[in-house]
């Protein structure tokens, strides 16, 4: 990972100012654990010592109960706080990544592919955060508090008996290191097993998909033979891996007798004379087994989480900071526009040339052409999606040069594109129209109901949830049209009004266009003349060029236009 190229340190991703309180709790938990750890060997020693002293025992017993209860409460506070912190942190990390990604323009790598296709965005926002969640579900944070606890125990014990204390310390460190090393070696072996498991899954998928085929094709046990081959290969690899993992886990589970044995051979040379000290030593061994056993696996969980964070970090850093000034939709206003394109060319060769038209508020412009004439490209240019053309767009008296990406982006906020595949969200109808802005919706809705009677007959309430799959193409267009109207877009682009609609919906879309006309400049792009019969101006497009333009009256003299007319009747 190239840490150098990242803008922020990775720990800045782990710090949540708003949850500083939790961090304080977490660190005090660790501190308390260090203290209880330090006290434990002493308490155990006194506890054992007092066993035969009536007066002291009661006192020691209470102290001991208090100590272990404190430790318990401390532990679960720690777990809850770390889990809570991770939860808050993940919300924040996801929010940050989602926001940066959503606000950034679509980046196209080498002009074709998205830099972050959907799968990649999901992988970052979901899988990478999952790696962090796993730390919670596996309780891996506990390893920190465990290690602090054991270390303080050991330090405290060293003062009771340094010989055995040091021996135990050394043995435990070695055990830890061996287990970590072992788990790394095991990771390689398991990788092998995972690979062959994946291969086996593919073969089994293949065979089960082709079973029917085999029934109809006389064959000589093709499936069984192939299955047998891969199952045997898998068995072989798996048994090999089992030798290692049996050894590894057995060693981990046998740590207790092994450590006891190691310590015991030192006892005769350690000047331990009190049973209580030996008891504390054994207690210490017992307490340290689980953390030592877990260290390797917890480290791998934590390192996966760190990789997840790093990947998210890189994801976020790959987006440019969004300095784009957002316009308040209510203030958008424009009376006229001139579109003047000199040339736009795709890498593959198709080009649009010399396309110029102007439009005033209240007018409808129809762009007519057969498929392949460049209609959809023109729509993309008009909605400001490409900035690689030469020409200008003039809105009111502001001239925007097309190569000025920022200005073009600014222009794009004046435009709303209603395409056949305009997105409708699985949210309330109101949300679909307002996209979360609430201002003046009630008035807008009653006006809309008046202008488009279909809305009343349709029976959809603004609060009802929209199920995009249940909607017809026309209904989707209606919703996205209302959205453009509510958000007061001065320029509305409409791509092909759906054909084959029932008459009610067709009327509704006509009403919608009349509604547009009262508020905006409307451009309708189509290959069917009937949809633009009431437009004020027409542009006839062929092979990327305007071949005729004017009112219906003017256009009648063009043979191409007559062809479209003939289709109509």
């Amino acid at each position: 990972m190239s840490q150098g190229s990242l803008r922020n340190n990775w720990w800045t991703y782990l710090w949540l100012r708003s949850e500083a309180f939790l961090v304080v709790i977490i660190f005090s938990n660790i501190l308390i654990s260090a203290i209880t750890g330090y006290l434990t060997p002493r308490f155990i020693t006194s506890f054992y010592d007092s066993l035969n002293k009536d007066a002291e025992f009661q006192h020691q017993l209470i102290l001991f109960v208090i100590l272990i209860s404190c430790e318990y409460i401390n532990r679960f506070c720690f777990s809850l706080s770390t889990n809570r912190y991770v939860q808050k942190l993940l919300v924040e990390i996801r929010r940050k990544s989602f926001a940066l990604w959503l606000k950034a323009p679509f980046k196209r790598k080498s002009g074709k592919h998205e830099e972050y296709p959907l799968g990649e965005v999901l992988a970052r926002l979901m899988n990478d955060t999952d790696a962090v969640r796993e730390v919670v579900s596996s309780g891996s944070f506990a390893i920190f508090i465990d290690i602090i606890f054991i270390l303080s125990c050991l330090i405290s014990f060293l003062q009771l008996n340094s010989t055995t204390g040091l021996a135990l310390f050394a043995a435990e460190v070695i055990a830890c290191l061996l287990l970590i090393k072992g788990s790394k070696a095991m990771a390689r072996i398991f990788m092998d097993v995972r690979r062959i498991t994946g291969m086996m899954a593919r073969v089994v998928t293949d065979i089960t998909s082709g079973l029917k085929e085999l029934f109809f094709s006389p064959n000589d046990r093709y499936a069984s033979k192939r299955g047998q081959k891969i199952f045997e290969e898998f068995l072989d690899k798996q048994l090999h891996a089992n030798i290692w993992d049996a050894g590894y886990y057995s060693a981990a589970e046998s740590l207790y007798p092994i450590l006891v044995a190691l310590v015991m051979i030192i006892v005769p040379y350690s000047q331990i004379v009190e049973v209580a000290i030996l008891a504390a030593l054994i207690d210490l061994i017992q307490k340290s087994i689980t953390p030592i056993k877990d260290v390797a696996s917890k480290i791998s969980v934590l390192s996966r989480a760190k990789t997840g964070i790093d990947r998210l970090h890189q994801f976020n850093d790959s987006f440019e900071q969004d300095h784009f000034e957002r316009l308040d939709f209510a203030t958008l206003e424009a009376q006229s526009m001139v579109f003047d394109l000199q040339v736009f060319q795709y890498e593959q060769g198709f080009k649009l040339e010399n396309i110029k038209f102007e439009l005033k508020k209240g007018e409808i412009l129809g762009i007519l052409g057969e498929s392949g004439c460049g209609k959809s490209t023109l729509l993309k240019l008009l909605s400001g999606q490409y900035h690689t053309f030469s020409g200008t767009i003039t809105i009111d008296d502001k001239v925007i040069h097309a190569d000025n990406e920022k200005a073009l982006r600014h222009f794009s906020s004046y435009v709303s594109l209603i395409a056949q595949d305009s997105h409708v969200f699985t949210e309330s109808l109101k949300f679909n129209i307002t996209l979360g802005a609430e201002v003046g919706f009630e008035e807008f809705w009653s006006l809309a109901e008046k202008s488009i009677p279909y809305l009343v007959r349709w029976g959809m309430n603004p609060q009802d949830k929209v199920m995009p799959k249940m909607l017809s193409m026309g209904q989707k267009q209606l919703i996205s049209g209302l959205r453009a109207l509510y958000l007061k877009k001065p320029v509305i682009l409409m791509d092909e009004i759906s054909s084959g609609l029932d008459s009610e919906l067709e009327a509704a879309l006509r009403d919608l266009i009349t509604f547009f006309q009262s508020r905006s400049m409307t451009i309708i792009v189509t290959h069917r003349l009937e949809t633009i019969l009431n437009s004020h101006k027409l542009v006839l497009l062929e092979k990327g060029q305007i071949i005729a333009t004017g009112t219906h009256q003017v256009m009648r003299s063009f043979p191409k236009y007559q062809e479209f007319l003939n289709h109509l009747h």
Partner: protein, 555 residues
């Protein structure tokens, strides 16, 4: 080979145990020795503590601990291996038995199960069964033997300590409760997670719209809301373990305190308490595995039930089979007679032996249905029939494996295979014909085009040694010139003289190149039948082709 699949869960486990009796005998022996060694430790520590300060600790009594540790390591590893091996072998045997059965029985028996379901049983469920016998049984065995060794040993000398184990054993109860809580939330978390993903997918699709309207903030708000809900559920699901996890330590401490009081009441010494602490720890490990083992057992049981369900379906003849067994289907020397219900009416079909017969009819009339019934029926009656379906399946294997399908490759059929590859113009897939044979076709033939896949399947069927060959629309993606060449060659070659070809087609060319034509129809069943020259003169047939066919003018 022994059948495992027909047994119930218990008998299957017992059968398995007997099948690998020597392994399990060894494994239990290892576990026994392991526990005996482990049980030595607390007592020996007690003895040692009693000698502390007397200066009479001998070196040898200390080195025994090293011996015990080495023995424990050895026997623990061996017991694991002895459990793992039979489980892995059993896994393979189960998979093989199920696969062989699947291959043997008519596919109609499991047609209501998706490929995914069969995959899951063959792959995941049998793996869960493996986990049950390899891991579950190991831990159960370990617990039983630990109980068998440790309980009498403690009873012998220090039975009064038993009550002190209660706090430790309680932790099993708590962990089980925690995993139940976790389970309860797990599904909820998963559902919510699906919603979060859906939100991202929608935002992705609508990103342009959102941007254009400058409504990013409300989408971020929506995302945060749903994402917070999901993570809050996730947090709740972790509470159970956060509370019970640390309890284990508390339980161990409380057990020790309880024991201290018992020791005092008994007039014992600190050494006795050290002894107890050692025992406590020996119980701690197998007990901690308990809640995990419960999950493995439950999963294993459920997996066996699913395996059994599939097995039950596989060994019983399906409805289709019964129907076909009762239907009239005769393969005589003169030809093949079939009568069955077709659009609620009886239809009688006759295909002449050693001829090429083409079945024609409107799209969607059920030609594929008739052909597949015919092929299934013949196969069930034990005839060697090869059928190429409209969309044949190629295995993710080489062309050679795909055309021979496990059959022995002889010089003769190899020569035929090469000739066919050339004839079907597949020889240009690679520089040499041998390289073509070695070509990997990819998942479901994705490295080949649809037409190439079809031609490989046709070659497969010609190499299958079946005398009756059924092809459902074989030439749809082959151009007319190649089609004509293939049929001409085949009809003039002695190789295919004694084969009966039954083909469905949409093309006039195919009809012209065949001997017989059967025109089927919804109302009248067989609307016309006869030799191809004769039938093409019939008015309704020529009208059919005018309406249906695109390449009339070319033919």
């Amino acid at each position: 080979m022994t059948s495992r699949l027909h047994r119930r869960f218990g008998p299957w486990v017992i059968h398995h145990a007997f099948e690998f009796k020597w392994f399990y005998l060894g494994a239990f022996l290892c576990l026994y020795v392991l526990q005996v060694f482990q049980s030595e430790i607390p007592g020996r520590i007690r003895n040692l503590t009693e000698l502390l300060g007397t200066g009479s600790i001998e070196g040898s009594s200390v080195w025994i601990f090293v011996g015990l540790a080495a023995g424990i390591l050895l026997f623990r590893t061996s017991s694991r291996l002895l459990f793992f091996y039979p489980a892995r072998v059993q896994q393979k045997l189960l998979r093989m038995e199920l696969l062989e059965l699947l291959e043997k029985v008519p596919s109609t028996r499991y047609q209501h199960r998706s490929q995914g379901q069969i995959f899951q049983i063959l792959f995941d469920d049998i793996n869960n069964l493996r986990a049950f016998i390899g891991f579950g049984l190991l831990q159960i065995g370990n617990l039983l033997i630990a109980a068998w060794v440790l309980i009498p040993k403690l009873n012998e000398t220090d039975a009064y300590l038993w009550p002190a184990f209660t706090p430790l054993f309680l932790s099993v109860v708590f962990t089980t409760i925690a995993s139940l809580i976790n389970q309860k939330y797990f599904k909820k978390v998963m559902d919510k997670k699906g919603e979060v993903q859906q939100y991202i997918i929608e935002s992705y699709e609508a990103k342009q719209t959102i941007k254009n309207f400058h409504r990013e903030e409300s989408f971020i708000k929506g995302f945060v809301k749903i994402s917070t809900e999901e993570l809050a559920l996730f947090f709740k699901s972790s509470i159970g373990f956060a509370v019970t996890g640390p309890y284990v330590k508390l339980g161990l401490g409380l057990s020790l305190i309880w024991a201290a009081m018992l020791v005092r009441a008994q007039g014992g010494s600190a050494s006795d308490l050290v002894f107890f602490a050692g025992y406590l720890y020996l119980f701690h490990e197998p007990v901690m595995f308990m809640s995990w083992v419960a999950v493995v057992v439950a999963q294993g049981f459920a997996a066996w039930r699913r395996v059994q369900e599939l097995y039950g379906v596989l060994v019983v003849p399906s409805l289709d089979e019964k129907e076909l067994a009762e239907s009239h289907l005769d393969l005589g020397s003169d030809g093949l007679k079939l009568s069955l219900l077709f659009w609620q009416k009886k239809i009688n079909l006759f295909f002449q032996a050693n001829r090429w017969t083409v079945l024609i009819g409107e799209t969607g009339i059920g030609k594929s249905y008739l052909l597949s019934k015919l092929a299934t029926g013949l196969i069930l009656k034990g005839h060697k029939v090869s059928m190429v379906q409209q969309e044949p399946y190629l295995f993710n294997d080489t062309i050679m494996e795909n055309i021979f399908l496990g059959k022995e490759v002889t010089e003769k059929n190899m020569a035929l295979a090469k000739e066919l590859l050339r004839m079907f113009q597949l020889d240009n897939l690679a520089p040499t014909i041998d390289e073509v044979l070695k070509l990997e076709v990819g998942e479901n033939g994705k490295r080949l085009s649809g037409g190439q896949i079809k031609r490989v399947a046709l070659i497969r069927s010609l190499l299958s040694e079946a005398k009756t060959i059924v092809w459902d629309d074989p030439f749809s993606s082959v151009d007319i010139i190649l089609e004509r060449r293939i049929i001409h060659k085949m009809r003039n070659s002695p190789e295919w003289k004694n084969h009966t070809f039954i083909i469905s087609s949409h093309r006039l060319t195919t009809v012209r190149l065949s001997d017989e034509v059967i025109y089927i129809d919804k109302e009248s069943g067989v609307k016309a039948q006869g030799s191809s020259e004769m039938i093409l003169k019939e008015e309704n047939v020529s009208r059919f082709f005018k309406e249906q066919l695109v390449d009339v003018s070319l033919a």
